[in-house]
Subunit: 352 residues, 3 copies
């Protein structure tokens, strides 16, 4: 990782982030590292007790721990209610300052009807279409293209090579990573005798405040109703969000997941990687779906859901997968056996 030259005393960190310090308040740290890799001058943290063995041997100058862990730790530590949350906050000190182009790059192409705030950073190769509004503090990375009539509220960021189709609306502090495409036509087709015709896609994409959209993720515009992400939704990379999907606030979705048209997902859901949503249905709040599951109907009860099978050696898998295709027949044979056993038990002498 990058080492930043600026350093901070433990005392200043404790007071700034409201942490309890056990140790030397004048000790300096200048970067962060994992427990295993940390060396002198680095800050680390323990958030998962499964890694507690690394704590004993760490060379970190200071570790963020919870109260209980700190009582068994003899060296300098910062005590937090939730060490991972506090780590996330403290680590912002060690981020390299962003180095965005200051101002509007002469190699950017900004339509004369677009309103771009003077405090926005517009890098080379950016193309901004007619009637766009780019708010204060926005950062538009090199090569990004913004279609007509898009609105970016304040402090939103498009990294390099992002594409917004026309009429995309972003809230405040939204981050869109490179290669993401928002507002493309949904996959709407009607079958007319012997070929498919395109169903006009007329909705918009609306992204709430504090959402983050991963690299190469795609979010299609609605067919009729808009495609909407409420505030605080976090999408990882390479996710497909089809037309008319609605995702509730603070839901997080891991990479490679696909969500089919008009699916409604609730608030505070956690969707694993490679999950498929197939059909038009709703998922209630506080639902967790584990990686690579297929969701094909509504989920009305909060909880954890899964599908698929677990990994085996290919030799075993081949045998078991072959039996999977006979499973209903196996079940029928089982019912038959149960009947016969019952008969044998009831009338053992009447056989033959």
């Amino acid at each position: 990782m990058n080492k930043n030259k600026q350093s901070f005393t433990l005392g200043s960190i404790a007071s700034r982030f409201d942490l309890k310090l056990k140790g030397d308040s004048n000790l300096h740290v200048s970067s962060v590292a994992s427990l295993q890799n940390a060396t002198t001058g680095q800050l680390s943290f323990l958030s998962n007790s499964k890694f507690i063995q690394h704590l004993k041997n760490t060379s970190a100058s200071v570790v963020i721990l919870n109260e209980e862990q700190s009582s068994n730790y003899d060296s300098d530590c910062l005590i937090a209610d939730d060490p991972y949350v506090s780590y996330a906050q403290v680590a912002t000190l060690f981020e390299s300052p962003a180095r965005h182009y200051a101002g509007h790059h002469p190699q950017a192409t900004i339509h004369e009807t677009a309103q771009v705030d003077s405090s926005a950073s517009i890098d080379a190769g950016v193309v901004i279409g007619p009637d766009c509004v780019i708010g204060p503090g926005c950062i538009i990375g090199a090569g990004s293209v913004i279609g007509h009539s898009c609105t970016l509220d304040k402090q939103s960021t498009l990294q390099a090579n992002v594409t917004l189709y026309p009429n995309v609306q972003l809230g405040k502090r939204v981050i869109i990573h490179s290669g993401a495409v928002l507002g493309a036509d949904g996959f709407g087709l009607a079958y007319n005798k012997d070929h498919w015709i395109k169903v006009p896609q007329l909705g918009r994409v609306i992204i709430g405040d504090d959402c983050e959209i991963g690299a190469n993720t795609t979010i299609d515009r609605g067919a009729l109703d808009d495609t909407i992400l409420e505030e605080g939704v976090r999408l990882d990379n390479l996710i497909q969000v089809a037309h008319g999907v609605y995702i509730g606030a603070h839901t997080v979705v891991a990479g490679c997941t696909g969500i089919s048209g008009s699916v409604k997902i609730g608030k505070y859901c956690m969707i694993g990687g490679g999950v498929g949503f197939s059909g038009h249905f709703s998922v209630t709040d506080h639902v967790t779906v584990t990686g690579m599951s297929l969701v094909s109907s509504s989920i009305n009860t909060p909880g954890v859901y899964s599908s698929g099978t677990a990994l085996s050696s290919n030799a075993d898998w081949r045998k078991n997968a072959a039996r999977f295709r006979q499973l209903d027949k196996m079940h029928k044979r089982m019912i038959q056996m149960e009947k016969e056993i019952k008969k044998l038990k009831e009338e053992p002498f009447n056989q033959k």
Copy 2:
């Protein structure tokens, strides 16, 4: 959705799209909406009888219905053989007019040997390589890059930030969405003692008339033979089409599907989202594969195919998935039980 200021009378819609009108031919509509969300002045449709309850309460000014549905509907309606097809046609009235850059933008880089029709729209940041031919009415969105020797027949569209490698051939009225990459090298590797060497990829990508390719979808060039999509193929977003794949006319593929090298898919197939094709084989015409299935050998009979397992609570799933790994052993135990039951039935007195 966007409301368009232009409005149309029901009479003019009926005559233009050859629909039967039941109601007031002078009534105006100016936009479209779903049955649930429609208000006065909006047109809606009912294509799936499962949503018929929304028909009773809709505030839409007019609804496109089939003959049977219309007989139970007391308000204004347009009667169609296939309401969804007619909706798709009527809704084109309400699309916002495209606002493409007219002409060849001064910030585009067009090689001197490229032949770009004067009626083509070439936006800022476009790069067109040597020996390309861009036909009449083509639209090339901002930031798109076209390698040398590509041909776009008339009225084809590349949205913003599309990449065509050299030698890609597009037919008429093709639409390629943003972030799509056509013509990258296929994944061809030969293992040479202790490392992989790259197998030269020498084929092209050829896309037929009226195909549509979704955002961030990738279609690799052939290794030897070309990668070919026949006319009318529709690919959704984030699909991988490997080298030498051949997709028959009017086949549609939903998002996140991957198709391995040299697979041949027939005409009029419907491939669900997240499907994997793994191996070198053929799929006949009129095959449907449901979402997230794995296709690993040829399909020779039209029909609907599936694999995978259905969603359960994680607690149930863990138990069942553990048993899946014992399935072949369960089958063996079952055979043993069947034998023993048979023996018990035949010779109940000879036990022990």
Copy 3:
């Protein structure tokens, strides 16, 4: 495929690539094709004995065969230890020469602090940030964006529209295909009372010599430790590599696979398409995972691994998938039956 005008005699090919020639050393070939499609003047090869029937009928002027196959082949052939490896080498003769922009295009934007070797090819629309180092012979395709402090060692290629975030390090002869995004923030979130906060992502992406990264693939920067690909790793298209992943030398990964944060994959592994790695764990060297499998814990033994179920007709699948959800109950019923059969066998007269 493209036919190249240059032709080569069989004699020159044999001597250049150290192959044994059986036939006319003065015969010319000018392109390559598959056995089925080859015509006079073309070179072909047989690498998989399953296609041996095509050998009899091929019109290729010469075929690369192994010793054994050549003994049954009466026409001109080149004899190789591994025909596919030799084909890969010979076919390089027939690649169209790359036609990259020579020099630094005036429409490229290169920061004054970037060091770009004079022999590097920088196409139109490229943006290179501060403090980058671009080595000799590198090729940067049109529209690619390179963030500050990236290093490309010699002869590396970014195809068009690639995005490198800051601090990405590429080795020698690395190829990155269009739309790939390296160095985006990993998906690191900490849950703070009622919302997620972003965990600063501070690591880098480091790519070894001779790696190739497919189109629209994403490789996130590490959270703390770097994300690392050792030399010779080959990634296909649309792959997600999360923060802190480590992939050993000469491992190959097929398209649409997702690898979750901090997973460590060994050397010489072969990962199929659409595979999901979910969790934080290690996979040893020489592991093969078949397409669309879910890997959710460490693999410590080399071998071939799989999960999932095989394709059936949808009608059969529905029945079997329903039984899958009863599998643990079926197992319990089976145990019960086994007990009862045992009892019946032991005490057939005591029933009732």
